[in-house]
C-alpha cells in the first residue's frame, strides 16, 4: 500500500510549484494555469485523506467534485476577464495592470 505521506508530499510539491507560477509569471493566463495546478494539489490532498481515513464516507468525493466545479467556473470567468482586459489594454501582463495602486 502506498503510504499516505507520499500523496501528501506530491500534493505539497504540486502546490508549491503552482504557487511559484502564480507569483512569478507575468502573463495572466500563465498565472491561471498555476492556480489550476494548485487546485489539483488540493484535490489530491482531499482525496488522499478521504481514502486513508474515511473511505466509506462520500463526503471527500463530494468535496473533490465541488472543487473541480469551482475550478471550472473560475477558469471560465478568469479567461473571460483576460480577454476583456486584452481587448482594453492590449496586454495580459499582470504587472502592467495596477489600477489598485494606492
Amino acid at each position: 500500500m502506498i503510504p499516505l505521506s507520499w500523496f501528501l508530499a506530491v500534493s505539497a510539491i504540486l502546490f508549491v510549484i503552482g504557487f511559484f507560477g502564480v507569483l512569478s509569471r507575468r502573463n495572466a493566463i500563465a498565472i491561471l494555469m498555476g492556480i489550476e495546478l494548485m487546485l489539483n494539489a488540493v484535490n489530491i490532498n482531499v482525496l488522499a485523506f478521504w481514502r486513508y481515513t474515511q473511505p466509506e464516507n462520500p463526503a471527500g468525493l463530494v468535496w473533490a467534485i465541488i472543487v473541480i466545479t469551482v475550478a471550472a467556473a473560475e477558469a471560465a470567468v478568469g479567461l473571460a476577464l483576460f480577454i476583456a482586459l486584452y481587448r482594453l489594454r492590449t496586454t495580459v501582463n499582470i504587472d502592467e495592470v495596477d489600477l489598485l495602486k494606492g
Binding site: 502564480v22 499582470i94 504587472d95 495592470v97 495596477d98 489600477l99
Partner: protein, 713 residues
Amino acid sequence: MDGLLFLIPALPFLAFVLIVLFTNQDQKVSAGLTIGATAVSWLLGWYFAFRAFFDPHGVAEEPIRLSIPWFPGGYSIFYTGFQVDVLTAVMLFMVPFLCFLIFVYSVGYMEGDPRFSRFFAYLALFATGMLGFILADNLLLAFIFWELMGVCSYLLIGFWSFRKPGETHIDHAQVKRARAASIKAFITTRVGDTIMLAGMVLLYAMTGSLRWSEILAPETLEKLADKIVSMPVFGVAPWATVLAILIFWGAIGKSAQFPLHVWLPDAMEGPTPVSALIHAATMVSAGVYLIIRTFPLFHVVAEGSNSAMWFVAFIGTFTALFAATIGIAQFDIKRVLAYSTISQLGYMFAALGIGAYIAAAFHLLMHAFFKALLFLGSGSVIHAMHHGHHVSHEHGHGHEELPIEFNPNDMRLMGGLLNKMPRTAWTFIAGGLSLSGFPLITAGFWSKDEILADAWHGGHMIVFWTLAIAAFVTAFYTGRQIFMVFFGQPRSEAAKHAHESPNSMTVPLVILAVFAIAAGWVGIPETFPGLGAVVRGWFQSLMGAQLEALHLEHETLPFNAAPLLISMTMAVGGLFVAWLIYGRKPLGYEDPLARPLGGLWQAWHNKYWVDELYQATVVAFAKWLAHFLYNFDDRWVIDPIVDGVGRYGRRFAGAVRRFIDEQIIDRIVNGTAWVSNVLGEFLRQIQTGQAQNYLLAILITVTVLIVLGIGVG
C-alpha cells in the same frame, strides 16, 4: 445647656456662611446677621463665664466640656471639643463682649463702603476664630482657629488692597501698602506657626494626645521634663523646654514679639481702625492666651538655663522696651498704638517668663479693654480728620500749604481736638492714662503694677528695671500722643474742621472707657493698704483656682512699697516729661526731639531698620536661592542632564539607524496625525496594486509561520 457650647463659635460662622452665600447684596441684613450672631454668642459666653466665676474651684477642677471623636491615628482616636475652665471664662468674658462692641462700631465706621457686607462676613469669621480658639479643649483645634484668625487678619489687612485709587478715601500708595502688609502679616505669622506646628506634632507624638487636660497633667509633664534630648547646635535640654520654646514661637508670631513683630505695625493699613483693633486688641492676645494656657509646660522646668521660662522672659522684656522706644518716634496715630501693643504684649510675656501667671492674665484682660478703647478713639479721630479734610475742601480752603503730605492718621496735622470732639478726647485720655499706668484709678496701673511687683518679689532685677524703664517710655509716648492730638492749636485745616463722630461710634467708646478705668479694680491685691480689704483680690483668687487645678502653687504677695513707688514714679514722670516737651508750648511740624536725639531718633523712627534688614537678608536670600535652584533645575544641571541623555541617546541611535529615528520617533512625537500619516505612507508603499506582491507577502508569512511552528513545536 453644656451642649450649647459649640454654638458660641458656630453662630458667627453661620453668619459668615450666610453672608457670603446669600446676603452679600444687602448691607443691613449682613451687618444684622453678624451682630446678632455675635450678640447671642456674647450672652452664651457670659452665661458660661459667670458659671465659672461663681464656682471657680469646681469649674477649674472639672471644666464644662463637650467632646466628640474626631479621627483615628494608628490605634488611637483623637477627640476634640470645647471646654470652659476659669481661664477660658475670663477670656469668654472679654472676647465676645469686645467683638460685639467693635462690630457695632463698625456699622458707623464702614458706612458707605461698597464691600460693607463682605467686611462683616470677615468680622464674623474673625469672631469664630477667636471664640473657637479660646474654647478649644485641645491644641490642634486651637491651632485651627488660630490659623483661621490668621486668614481673617490677611483678609482684613488687605481689605482695601485691590480698591481702585480714589474710589473712596484710599490713595494709591495706601493700596500698595495694604497689599504688601496683608501678605507680610500672613507669611510672618506663618513662620511662627510652622515652628509651632513642629512643636505641636512632637508634643502629640510624645504624649499621645493634645488635650489640655492630658498634656498638662503633672505626670505627663514630669515625663517630658525628665526626658533629655540632645540637638545639634543647641546642645542638651529636656524635652519640655524644647517643646515649650517651639510652641512659644507660634506666640511670637501671633503676638508680634521680636523678631517676628514686623507685621503688626504694617497691619494698621487695614480699614481704620476696625481691623487694626482686631489685630491689636484682641487677636494678638491669642498668643499670650496660648502661653498662659500651656504655662505648666513652660513651668515644669522652671530653673536654670535649660528652662524655657528665661527665653520667654527675655523675649518679652526685650520686646517691651524695644517696641516702646520705637513708639516714641512715630507720627501715625495708629502706629504708635501698634507699637504700644507690641510693647504691652512684651510685658505679658515677661510676666509669664518670671512665673507671674495671674499678673499676665490680668494685664491681658485690662490691656484688651484700654487698647480697644484707644483704637476706637483713634478711629474716631481719623474719621473726624477725614471729614474735616473734606469739609475744608468744600469750603474753599483746599489750597492749604502743608510742609508734609496730608494723611488723616498723621498726628503732626492734628492738635486741639479736645474742643472739637470732647467725648472722643476724654475717653481717649482715659484709655491713655490707663495705658501709661496712671496710679490708683486706672486699670492699667493695677495690672502693670502687679507684674512689676512680681518681678521685684521674685528677684528678677533685670526684668524689673527694664520693664520699669519701658513703663516710663510708655507713659512718655502716650503723653506725647495725647498732647499732639488733643491739645495745643490745630495744625491743619482738616483739624480745624473736625467734629465729633456719630453716636454709634462714641457710645462704645464710653462703655469701654468705663471698663478701662474700673475693670482694674477687680484685681486690687488683697494686701494693698485700704483698697485691698474692699476687693480682696477677687481676680487673683479666681485665677488661683485655675492654678490649683493645674497643681501649681500660688502665693499672695506681701505688700511692698518699693516697686509700687517706682511704678508710680515712672508713670507720672513719663507723662510729666511728655507735657514738658509736647504740651507746654505750641508744636511745629517737626518733632522737638528729632534734632537733639539725632541718630537715636532716626533709629527709632525707622524701627531700628529691622524691616530693611530682613529684606536684605532673609527675603533676598530666599529669592536668590529660589532662582539658583530653578536654574539648577531647569538650566544648569538636572534638566540639561536629562535633555543631554536624551540628545546623546538620540544621536547614538541616529547614527545607527537614522532612518528609523526620523521616520518613526519623530512621527510619534507629532501624535496620531503623524502616526496615521506614517501608516498611510507605509500602506501606500506596500499597496502596489499588484496582486502578486500581496501573494508573495502571504507566501513569506506562511513560510515563516510554518518554519517557526516547526522550530517551536
